[in-house]
């Protein structure tokens, strides 16, 4: 039964890989595109992993809740305080609630929530999936015939897409409350008057735009964090890079999306 193989067969020559930053950038772009398409292909096919989605929604909400509450309140309070002198010059301090509500609902609430979530949730998703990749846990799921992409990626992206809008709405109301504390302290405005002045200038478009923005931001945070983690390499160094990449890329994309969505919604006003 003993056999000896003496000569190696002719080896084939492989085509060289594209090198350089530009080539790498386009390859990454292509890979992200494929990753997003794969998400849409797998996310809406059974089984839906409802339990895991709920667990991830809870994780996303709980991870950011305290920080978002604190930041939202402070943003509202400080924004109102800083705006008062400028409005005061024109004798228009009574416009403060309207200014606060427009600024918060149209821009600050979704943006602040998304940036905080990118830092807290995005990095966490990147590190978690990155760690699972380098310890072969994702491979273990793959070889056991389960679908790791669906279980790990789809559930997280759906969770961030659903939870960030809820958190952004919550941030908006907390920030408005922060503004109320400042207005009530300085002008003695009642809560009901303040709230009426807050909601009067807001239109349906404002709420819709804010909601759409939050959904897009949530999807971005989930998909970027998952992509960075799912394809992380090079051991623990790779995990760190995945977490870092998840935050930096998500924040960069959030700002770009903010500009694009603001431009689009301005056409509807």
């Amino acid at each position: 039964m003993d056999t000896e193989i003496q000569s190696a067969p002719q080896l084939k020559k492989k085509a060289p890989k594209p090198k350089g930053k530009i080539a790498t950038f386009f390859v990454s772009l292509y890979n992200i595109h494929k990753f997003i398409l794969r998400f849409f292909r797998e996310a809406f096919v059974q089984p839906f992993e409802f339990k895991e989605i709920v667990r991830q929604c809870y994780e996303v909400g709980v991870r950011s809740f305290t920080l978002i509450s604190l930041t939202g309140f402070i943003v509202g309070l400080i924004f109102t305080k800083q705006s008062r002198p400028s409005l005061g010059q024109f004798g228009a301090t009574s416009w403060l609630p309207s200014l606060v509500s427009i600024a918060i609902m149209r821009a600050l609430a979704p943006l602040v929530t998304a940036l905080i979530a990118a830092g807290k949730v995005g990095s966490s998703i990147g590190a978690e999936l990155g760690s699972m990749r380098v310890t072969e846990q994702i491979d273990a799921m793959e070889v056991s015939g389960t679908k790791p992409f669906k279980f790990l990626v789809c559930t997280r992206v759906i969770a961030t897409t659903l939870t960030i809008p809820i958190l952004a709405t919550y941030t908006g109301f907390i920030a408005i409350l922060g503004g109320y504390v400042n207005v009530a302290t300085n002008e003695g405005t009642s809560y009901s008057t303040y709230m009426q002045q807050v909601f009067d200038p807001l239109s349906f478009t404002d709420f819709t735009a804010s909601l759409v923005k939050s959904i897009v931001f949530g999807f971005t945070i989930g998909i970027v964090g998952s992509y960075q983690g799912y394809y992380s390499t090079k051991g623990t160094e790779g995990v760190g890079k995945a977490a870092n990449g998840a935050v930096v890329t998500a924040m960069f994309l959030i700002f770009i999306e903010e500009i694009v969505i603001v431009q689009i919604t301005s056409w509807f006003r």
Partner: protein, 257 residues
């Protein structure tokens, strides 16, 4: 401990590999591998670190793609089957990872249930519990059922990793360095477990190792991987009795002879 006799069907190959080549960047790892694994056989692939042993079983399980060559697993060419077919094929193959790869956010029970509930539609809670208890019993770790992977020792993690693959009743087992990083006594226990799995679950296995004790105790046949090719194949003693200068040093540094 001598290797128990296993009923091997040499007319029935469950894995057939022809002309397999794989390279990473400019490094050619596998250079034209030919191999057959027969029904009921434990095949040990021996070789130094970095010779492509793990790459070989990752290709067999579809985790890595080949550059060239054909791989037939349980009658299916893994390069030509669809994703769905590959997923179904994987259920019939068990893969025990070098570092166990237990899901560290889940308890032992959840680790074992995970592949089962996702691959057996309509399975009842009672059947799941029964399967979990059965595989835990097979690896002798029933008491760890509610523990987290971080609470287990290296040997226990290996055993739970093997239990997780056994829960789907695989026909083929792929062991990646099953005794790496374990003390000699635990190594022998793991070797015994590999033989028990072969006997009880009637599996055909490829065992990747550079541990000669493991090779001697578990292998019905040994294949020596050197320079990206199998330089020698045979029983442990056949491979051992060589004057081949590339193979000899591997055994000379070992204590078991």
């Amino acid at each position: 401990m001598d290797k128990p006799k296993a009923p091997i069907d040499y007319n029935n190959a469950v894995i057939t590999i022809k002309g397999l080549e794989k390279s990473f960047d400019d490094y050619d790892v596998l250079r034209g591998i030919d191999l057959q694994l027969f029904q009921g056989e434990n095949l040990v692939v021996l070789g130094r670190s970095g010779t492509g042993k793990s790459v070989l079983i990752k290709i067999i399980s579809g985790l890595l793609e080949t550059d060239r060559g054909t791989i037939e697993v349980l009658g299916q060419d893994i390069n030509r089957i669809s994703d769905k077919e590959l997923q179904e094929l994987r259920i019939r193959i068990g893969f025990s990872f070098q570092n166990s790869a237990l899901y560290d956010s889940m308890t032992v029970r959840k680790n074992l249930e995970f592949p089962l509930v996702r691959n057996r539609k309509g399975i009842t809670k009672h059947e799941i519990d029964e399967a979990v208890e059965s595989v835990l019993d097979a690896v002798g770790l029933s008491q760890t059922i509610n523990q987290m992977p971080s609470e287990l020792s290296g040997g226990q993690r290996k055993r739970i990793g093997i239990a997780r693959t056994l829960i789907l009743n695989p026909e083929i087992m792929l062991y990646d360095e099953p005794t790496a990083g374990l003390d000699p006594i635990t190594c022998i226990e793991i070797n015994e477990l590999i033989n028990e799995v072969q006997q009880k679950y009637k599996t055909s296995s490829i065992i990747i190792t550079h541990d000669l004790t493991c090779a001697k105790q578990t292998g019905d046949r040994i294949a020596m991987l050197l320079d990206g090719q199998f330089q020698r194949q045979g029983t442990f003693d056949e491979v051992f009795d060589t004057k081949d200068e590339r193979v000899k040093p591997f055994f000379d540094y070992n204590f078991i002879r």
